[in-house]
Amino acid sequence: MDTDEMLNDDFLASLLRKMPLESPSDGFINKVMTGLEPLPSTITHKRTFFEWLKSLIPYLGVGLIIALILYSSDIPNLNFIYGKEYFSGMLVKAFHPFWISMKVLLSSRLITYFLLISVSAGFLFIIDKLFSRRFAL
């Protein structure tokens, strides 16, 4: 009998296959499963329209702030922007009571410092919210 024939010897093969294998303890599968960490997602996640829209919010926010700055600025070269003069005039009028009250408030050094810190912190917080992953609608 040559090697190949020997390896295909069904008699011994069937006897050997009937011999039971050693098995691990009863809780083995649970032990393995509790030791597993979540597998990183392997599927390419298709973005929904809402998710796409949500991703635009930081850029829209920044765009809006830039537009507001440009519209309300006194830079003469920007006078070509349609409606800028009207907008600036309206803005000043609309915020007139606000500026008056601010002038009163800022007369106090304590309130000035408080406003400086809180407005800066608020600004940083908004920027962080806009551009970090924590942003959610």
Binding site: M1, T3, F11, L16, L21, P24, F28, V32, P40, T42
Partner: protein, 188 residues
């Protein structure tokens, strides 16, 4: 329990259903544990190594490229883990001269063994396998229980295919010889 093909569970796991991995563990746990046990000779160590091998296979499942069978890949992981655990390679290429060549023909031995009932055959075989070295028992486990091809075993253990083939051939000869000797002892 009847299990599906390994790829069925692998696909489920890769699609986010990690619980499908439990079926793969259940399907292969005995063989994986047996491989580790034959190398380590200690149930606790073998269980720990087998457990780690399953976890490692799970974590690397994405990199499994279906170039080989999942089982072959898994057995290679557990084999390497167990060998690393013992800090030595247990399966070294053994020169053929180191094996005892038995001076008989299988054809003359086999009919005698086939005559006894199956339970006795099993008992004889169990005793004969106990006379084998752990390494030889490991090859038997991989070949007969794991249904691995010579090439698969070569890939798992790092032995050359021809070496695996010759060793398996001689293991069978030794088994027949030992079974025959035990039967002769009984008759006397």
């Amino acid at each position: 329990m009847k299990y599906q093909d390994d790829n069925f569970y692998i696909e489920k796991v890769l699609n986010g259903d990690s619980s499908a991995y439990a079926a793969l563990v259940a399907k292969h746990k005995n063989l994986v544990f047996s491989i580790a046990l034959k190398i380590l000779n200690n149930r606790e160590d073998a269980e720990e190594v087998a457990q780690d091998a399953f976890v490692k296979a799970y974590q690397s499942l994405k990199s499994f490229e279906n170039k080989s069978k999942f089982s072959t890949w898994l057995y290679r992981i557990v084999y390497n883990a167990a060998v690393s655990h013992t800090r030595k390679r247990i399966l070294e290429t053994i020169p053929m001269d180191n094996y005892v060549i038995y001076n008989y023909s299988e054809e003359s031995v086999r009919p005698g063994i086939e005559e006894v009932d199956e339970n006795e055959q099993q008992a004889l075989l169990l005793k004969a396998t106990k006379n084998l070295s752990d390494e030889d028992n490991l090859l038997i486990t991989l070949f007969y229980h794991g249904n691995n091809s010579i090439e698969d075993i070569s890939s798992i253990t790092g032995l050359s295919a021809s070496n695996v083939k010759v060793r398996l051939h001689r293991i069978r000869k030794k088994l027949y010889n030992d079974m025959n000797a035990m039967m002769a002892q009984r008759l006397n």
